[in-house]
Amino acid sequence: MSPAGCSHVNGYKVENWKQNLRVIYQCFVWSGTAETRRRKAKSCICHMCGAHLNRLHSCLYCVFFGCFTKKHIHEHAKSKRHNLAIDLLYGGIYCFVCQDYIYDKDMEQIAKEEQRKAWKFAVPNLLTYTTWEPTKRELELLRHNPKRRKITTNCTIGLRGLINLGNTCFMNCIVQALTHTPLLRDFFLSDRHKCEMQSNSCLVCEMSQLFQEFYSGHRSPHIPFRLLHLVWTHARHLAGYEQQDAHEFLIAALDVLHRHWDDNGKKANNPNHCNCIIDQIFTGGLQSDVTCQVCHGVSTTIDPFWDISLDLPGSSTPFWPLSPGGDGSTVNGESHMTGPTTLTDCLRRFTRPEHLGSSAKIKCGGCHSYQESTKQLTMKKLPIVACFHLKRFEHSAKLRRKITTYVSFPLELDMTPFMASSKESRMNGQYQQTVDILNNDNKYSLFAVVNHQGTLESGHYTSFIRQHKDQWFKCDDAIITKASIKDVLDSEGYLLFYHKQFLEYE
């Protein structure tokens, strides 16, 4: 197999060969339109035995289809001296003299173009990406910069401790979670932020710098003083040396990053249609349906969210309140709970229909009067990274305390039951059994967990983050240690970060 192609194609490259080759690709290899498909279905059978399987090939010199496996095309090639054939399944060109598939640059180019053309007609949701091949300029760059970093399964690149600058563990654990969010990491490491801010106080630039530090290969702990300073400048409510809430920091950080993304004022005109990386990764849509109990009219609103805050059993609001309008799948009364509460239980509670009671009547557009109603939350659009916040800190009028109830959370999570679309199919009588096999869109994998140890007054934050698919590490400020999956799943859990398993191109 020579990478330079074989010389025997030269006999073929005469007259109108390019057009002829294109026609063959369009009609018999990658049939895009219904017409070509019909023609392909009828005519693509072996001229010797009539079979349609057996790796059918077409002669390039004449109209002949033959099986490869049964050597029918080989016989044809020998007797007619037609040395080239094309594989109708994959489009590869076979040379009978070289006795192997050959890769001619011109022919490959035509093949690629025809394939892309055909795919446009096919099922529109198919992945239409092709493998990356470097351009001349890129090859040049790669040759001039020969230093390479090889990522093996046990290399620790990306792991770095963070010095605690005085109760800053709440910031440190969020930084660990963000620097290990795969899409965010890829974005920053491929240098995608072009800063348009004049001053030195762009938080996005600082994040970029942070990623450079984390992936530099240095193993000594990093001192995030610049980050801390920028946070104090842009989120005043988090300034000071007292212990802050990690969840508040996460939201504040995402907010500042989102605001700094495009400070030219473009955002001010259209804050809801931002296309910054923060929105692309973290923003989901929460659907709220309010159903009037009298006319059953539904009023729907969709709000963006960056995280889902879940109530826990043991708080002053009952976990499973008796809800007269609820669907049969909820459990009424806490005594029915067996086993530890799971994340799914919390999500089920979050998305259950809630009767709003006579003291909270809503003005119904259908009845034109105040009526009792039920409200239900479901997920309209899921973000690529879903962050779940377990509400462990209770700040009610009567008391301030930490709820330490253990909530078990899974490594893999399927959000399908909590989607607005699932609720609709349930209401229409269709059940989840006939799930679209191609819909892997709602499956998530855990990649970071932030934990709080201690009490409301004095506590400490640590985090677990995932590397290399199944290796976990505990990050306790400057100290990074290897952790087992059991350590992670047994931990109390305060902030849970999940990442979509399958990503699709827009």
Partner: protein
């Protein structure tokens, strides 16, 4: 052609005409990547190439060596799913 292969040909024709064959191929492709089959076979291909030598190995060598293993390694669940899908289509 036997009745069996006649039926096969007819089914194949219908699948191609309706574009279902392409959809099934994509579904199968996704499933095989998901269950790790693609990675397993890729590793096997690399072994064969190293064994035969990069300069001398042909596509035929790879096909002969890798096909039986590839067929055997397809998980039953994937086979079942595809069959279900085809049955649903033909119904």
């Amino acid at each position: 052609m036997s009745k069996d292969s006649q039926m096969r040909a007819a089914i194949n024709q219908k699948l191609i005409e309706m574009g279902e064959r392409e959809r099934l191929k994509e579904l199968l492709r996704a499933k095989l990547v998901e269950c790790g089959w693609k990675d397993q076979l890729k590793a096997h291909c690399k072994d064969v190439i190293i064994e035969k030598g990069l300069e001398h190995v042909t596509v035929e060598d790879l096909v002969t060596e890798v096909t039986p293993k590839g067929r055997a390694l397809v998980p039953d669940s994937v086979k079942k799913e595809l069959l279900q899908r085809i049955r649903a289509f033909l119904a």
